[in-house]
Symmetry: C2
Subunit: 714 residues, 2 copies
């Protein structure tokens, strides 16, 4: 195993705990009990000021009294004791800590200061720590559970990093009943030292972890988050829920762990860029994460559906379709094979609907294997395999008619070779998910779960779970994301910007803005400043009529409304008139720009904005008057590789406009990608550029041309 | 109770069953057992050719041997016996039947014929029946369960009509474990006689049913469906899932019950028009249906959130925001009151986050009541109330430390007055939903469920459930939908259409199309046919320059591409040139139209298409080149009341374009609504009009003007 700074913290050979006592209903004690009772094999060293023993183990009066240096210190103490205790652990040489105590940055300015001091103390001794304000960690391979809930489930293969402690402790029973098991689960709390990105990196390297789930309220270093994820996602699926992107969500998150949230669209773009599958509920985070961890990768998007029931079959087929999976009708040949095993009124097309039919073997293995062998689909969804769950339901009805049989005898009578049936998916190394209205009270559901076959509790969920596997296929196929080194900074661009700043400007004039674009190889309209009406006419003739004549000053707002923009001038007279009219309206000193008219029916917008934690983000979207009305825009974080930039262009609802459309050729997607990359480059090379707003980019023929641009500087 | 034809079928005093025997693992027998064992108090009359008794009851050798006329006949027999048996029941005077047997229209053309004969037989005797190919019905008030699964849950208040039998039988255990209880549940099968609309109407009148859930694969009479629903939805919530709108879903549905599906967008529009809340999974159908049935109506959209845990609180707040609910920060005053009851590090803003805190009373009643009293929110979501569920989890850890206490004693020690806490929502007549990761194994969850408080198994689901209540508030507030009688048919329009049909035209020319629009008071461009270049110029001057000059013939396709459309002609010379050029290109005989140019930056599309089962549907959407690329369109079924037409206009993503926008005034929404109404009128009065496609409607100032229209006739 590759060395990762978290490896030691996750695999301590000894743990000292401060804050555990002998009252089992107190949090620290509950956490100590989890360590002691759930199978951890390392040393347990409680520190207690008064009690000589804690939970039957020798306790030490202070950290300095410990008989050895523990690998890991765990603090569940009042806020004001955290720093002094960490100092003591530092002195005895402990290098890792888990700080459960709350009361730091999540409580406001004073707490922030305290958290800074905590970081200084840890830094002084080279201590790496989780928290504060976290619930601890679970390493199921070590049977090490430091949380408040007991963890009795077997070791799993889904890794979890969470900015909420609840999701790695209070949900243990929920997960166990659904057959979902963690490899490692880590509550990051306030992330004063180790943050969720560190944990992501660790889980990416952890061999027991086959997929990673992230619960996120806010990311403090967006760029590192994306880069870390991009290294993992081409081979190991990463799935995330983000809840900080709304007003209420951001406020709740801030008071929860003091996290800094950003707009939903920013995270949405960052996830796509990072190759992270996004879900919108914790249920999907767990259940799709589990499907991604347990199933072999999808090779294609064709789904076979086998059910005992028309409704769920139809719902699965419909949901597959909505989420981009295909449910193809089976070949006549395959249907003939299937027909020999099912009732006459049943349907052999896809979905196969056995109708109400009690032979579970046909449903759960015989027909699925026929379908798998046919090669006609890439995965299977099975609904309706049931045994003891149903029998327990009908038992009160049939008991008497069956000679007052005992329930256990009834179950035995109808016992199928369920474990064989449930092992079918694994035997064929084929992606199969199960939909069942029964939980573990049914022997089929339990057998599937025990063999790591994902079971969803309703049909649509099974289909959506499979769709997450399709998303991962797309992510795998885009391969490694590469970035070229940034180009050299343009000194001419730098000069334009600093001169404007020196003049006190808040924004560049249109001419200078486009000049900067051009210096970074963004195609812009040909244009020139005209100092007289004659010069305007001269330029117009040089560019070729028709032209546009516009006032060019960073101070003038609402140019169009004030009549300072004259478009589509076809005659030299009109050019002259426009020039004079602008000078009259806006003043003799206002520069006038003469610009070629760009013809094209497709208009887009692009731009750049900076976000705390993420730095410059590039925007692309539908342009013209529709930008505001349709809000069809997408974001990515700079710098952008070419793949990322092109994916971005196609990530708008109006993406059809980029393809061949109503007699117009497909837009040159590389050229658009290069514009988006260049916007990122400008932002990274020129920190004085606060914001760029290009609207429109017109597609002339197949090539994009920037027609108007605003560059805000500071 | 008002008389409804289904009332008798749902409340039989005696039931004869054919197809039940003494083998309890056969379907008919299982259904007979459900009748006998689940508490039905009426007479049970089995018909069996050989056995003298069935399940301990006297059996009769044939229908004609029955000692009395049963209220209801139930048939669970091979397909070919259905019609002869129904005939016999007809002869003895039975007026209601439930036909479980399959093998009719869902199997293809032969089955369709058989189903026709079945209908004839029933018609001959005036028998109303459910099925064939259904699973029966449940009337929980009578304890009458005719399905294959046992039903031991108490009578409920959610009515269910389903085109899948599974959803009113195989999900009984699923529903019981989630505390969701049906008033009536009806499987409609192939709907040869009684269809889902009849059941909807019945449940609308049924006093025990407080909300109605519909599982739909296809509706055969869309207009009646909408009208029936519109009478119910202003006071009783109706919620529906539709799965027939995709290729795979439609194919699956057809082989399931032979239902005729339509495109998803058609049903989406029909649901909105009908005031039906749409959901996309059976889980939401049940759980939102239950919340709608049990909770008092929402008075506003402000939500209070109380949790023991930051993650779920943040997720609830975020999800509320996404679904249109508001989570406002509480006033300082209310926060001060809350703070006195919670730990210092906990948050008193909204969400209130108690952090890990074991006092359930504070979480589940004390703080909620403070919030309810404040009047600052309209509903509450509570997450984290738990008791025995958690205790059972931690018991293995704490047992020893608590002197080897027995689990029951531990539970007793920590027993809270849960039933009082759980009765809080009802006591305050205030909408409250619960989120809990524990099911009924936790005493809190069970107590809530037993008091009809909806419990969702994860935070986001609770928020989405509440959002369905908000949808119902909007539906209630739109009030009764009224329709004016259709206007008188225009004989002039009729003449234009029949003349075109006589000439063998497949479509009207543009001039005639707009003429028809104008006859139904749709505002169109002023225009005239010009018979010579001089006339064209004359018309142009009359209309005022600039004008458009276009070829006007139903035969010519791709007019723009062929240079037969000349726009924005500013000078008489240009008009003359355009006229001559069209005659040259398209032939002397081609009529030429001279039309005013309509100025306006906002373009919409509207139209009409006919759908099997639904008749004419009206379309509205974003127009111009974007129609195809953005597919931002919405449908409604004709005729449209003004409310429906105006709701429709605002049901597009680009609805902002209809409001004040970039210096343009708000579009006249009544005028747009009248166009949409008129399109429905034309379709209903002129069945020869197969299709109408208007694109664009330009907003001139604030008024819509139809600029181009295609009318397809047949």
């Amino acid at each position: 195993m590759k060395y990762n700074p978290l490896h030691q913290l996750m695999n301590p050979e000894s743990i000292a705990i401060v804050g555990a006592g002998n009252n089992p209903m107190k949090m620290g004690t509950m956490q100590a009990l989890s360590i002691l009772k759930d199978g951890y094999g390392g040393k347990f060293l409680p520190v207690h000021r008064k009690d000589k023993t804690v939970l039957g183990h020798t306790a030490y009066a202070s950290v300095l009294d410990l008989p050895e240096t523990p690998d890991l210190a765990m603090l569940v103490v009042p806020t004001d004791q955290v720093i002094p205790l960490l100092e003591e652990f530092g002195k005895i040489g402990t290098k890792h800590a888990v700080i459960i105590s709350a009361g730091f940055r999540e409580t406001g300015p004073e707490g922030e200061l305290l958290e800074e001091r905590l970081k200084e103390t840890a830094g002084k001794f080279g201590i790496r720590f989780l928290g504060p304000n976290c619930i601890g960690l679970l390493n199921s391979q070590l049977s090490l559970n430091m949380t408040v809930f007991s963890h009795t489930a077997p070791p799993g293969i889904l890794g979890m990093a969470s900015q909420s402690g609840t999701y790695v402790t209070q949900t243990f029973p929920y997960l166990k009943s659904r057959g979902i098991h963690f490899s490692k689960a880590i509550s990051v709390g306030n992330e004063a030292d180790i943050d969720i990105v560190d944990v992501l990196e660790y889980l990416g390297e952890d061999e027991e972890t086959r997929a990673i789930a992230l619960y996120i309220e806010g990311i403090s270093d967006g760029r590192r988050f994306i880069e870390t994820a991009q290294k993992i996602t081409p081979y190991k699926p990463v799935i995330a829920q983000y809840v900080g992107g709304s007003t209420a969500g951001a406020r709740a998150g801030a008071s929860h762990t003091g996290s800094m949230a950003g707009p939903d669209y920013l995270y949405d773009g960052a996830f796509k860029q990072a190759g992270i599958i996004r879900v919108h509920s914790v249920e999907e985070l767990y259940s799709h994460g589990w499907a991604l961890a347990t199933l072999p990768p999808l090779k294609g998007g064709r789904v076979g559906v086998v059910t005992n029931s028309g409704g769920p079959g139809t719902a699965i087929a419909h949901t597959c379709d909505v989420y981009g999976l295909e449910v193809p009708a089976f070949s006549e040949e395959l249907q003939q094979q299937i027909k020999t095993h099912i009732p006459a009124v049943a349907s052999s097309a896809n979905p196969v609907d056995l109708t109400f039919f009690l032979n579970s073997r046909v449903l759960s293995s015989l027909i699925p294997e026929l379908i798998i062998e046919s090669g006609e689909v890439d995965c299977l969804i099975i609904h309706g395999a049931m045994s003891s769950g149903m029998m327990k339901e009908v038992y009160p009805h049939v008991r008497e008619a069956l000679g007052n049989i005992a329930l256990d005898d009834l179950l035995a009578t109808f016992k199928q070779d369920i474990s064989t049936a449930a092992s079918m998916p694994g035997k064929n190394d084929f992606p199969v998910v199960i939909s069942s209205f029964f939980g573990r009270e049914d022997s089929f559901t339990a057998a599937y779960q025990d063999q790591n076959i994902p079971v969803f509790d309703s049909p649509e969920k099974a289909a959506r779970g499979m769709a997450s596997l399709l998303r991962h296929k797309e992510i795998r196929e885009r391969g490694k994301i590469t970035h070229l080194p940034l180009p050299v900074k343009s000194t001419e661009a730098e000069k334009i910007i600093s001169q404007a700043l020196q003049k006190g400007q808040k924004a560049l004039d249109e001419y200078s803005a486009k000049k900067i674009m051009a210096l970074y190889r963004i195609p812009v309209t040909s244009e020139k400043i005209a100092n007289s009406a004659d010069e305007a006419v001269e330029t117009a003739l040089l560019l070729g009529l028709p032209v546009a004549v516009k006032a060019c000053s960073p101070q003038i707002m609402h140019k169009t409304e004030r009549g300072l923009v004259h478009l589509n001038l076809k005659q030299t007279d009109e050019v002259r008139q426009a020039f004079n009219s602008i000078k009259e309206t806006a003043g003799e000193g206002t520069p006038v720009i003469v610009s070629e008219m760009v013809k094209g029916d497709r208009e887009f917008t692009a731009g750049m904005t900076r976000f705390p934690g993420f730095g410059p983000a590039v925007l692309f979207g539908l342009g013209g008057v529709f930008t505001e009305a349709l809000k069809d825009v997408t974001f990515r974080i700079a710098p952008l590789g070419l793949t990322e930039a092109q994916e971005m262009a196609f990530d708008i609802r109006a993406k059809k406009l980029l393809c061949e459309f109503r007699g117009m050729p497909a837009a040159d997607i590389s050229a658009i990608g290069e514009i988006l990359q260049a916007l990122g480059t400008i932002a990274l090379l020129h920190p004085q550029v606060a914001e760029i707003d290009i609207n429109p980019i017109i597609i002339r023929g197949n090539m994009p041309v920037v027609v108007d641009a605003l560059v805000v500087i500071e």
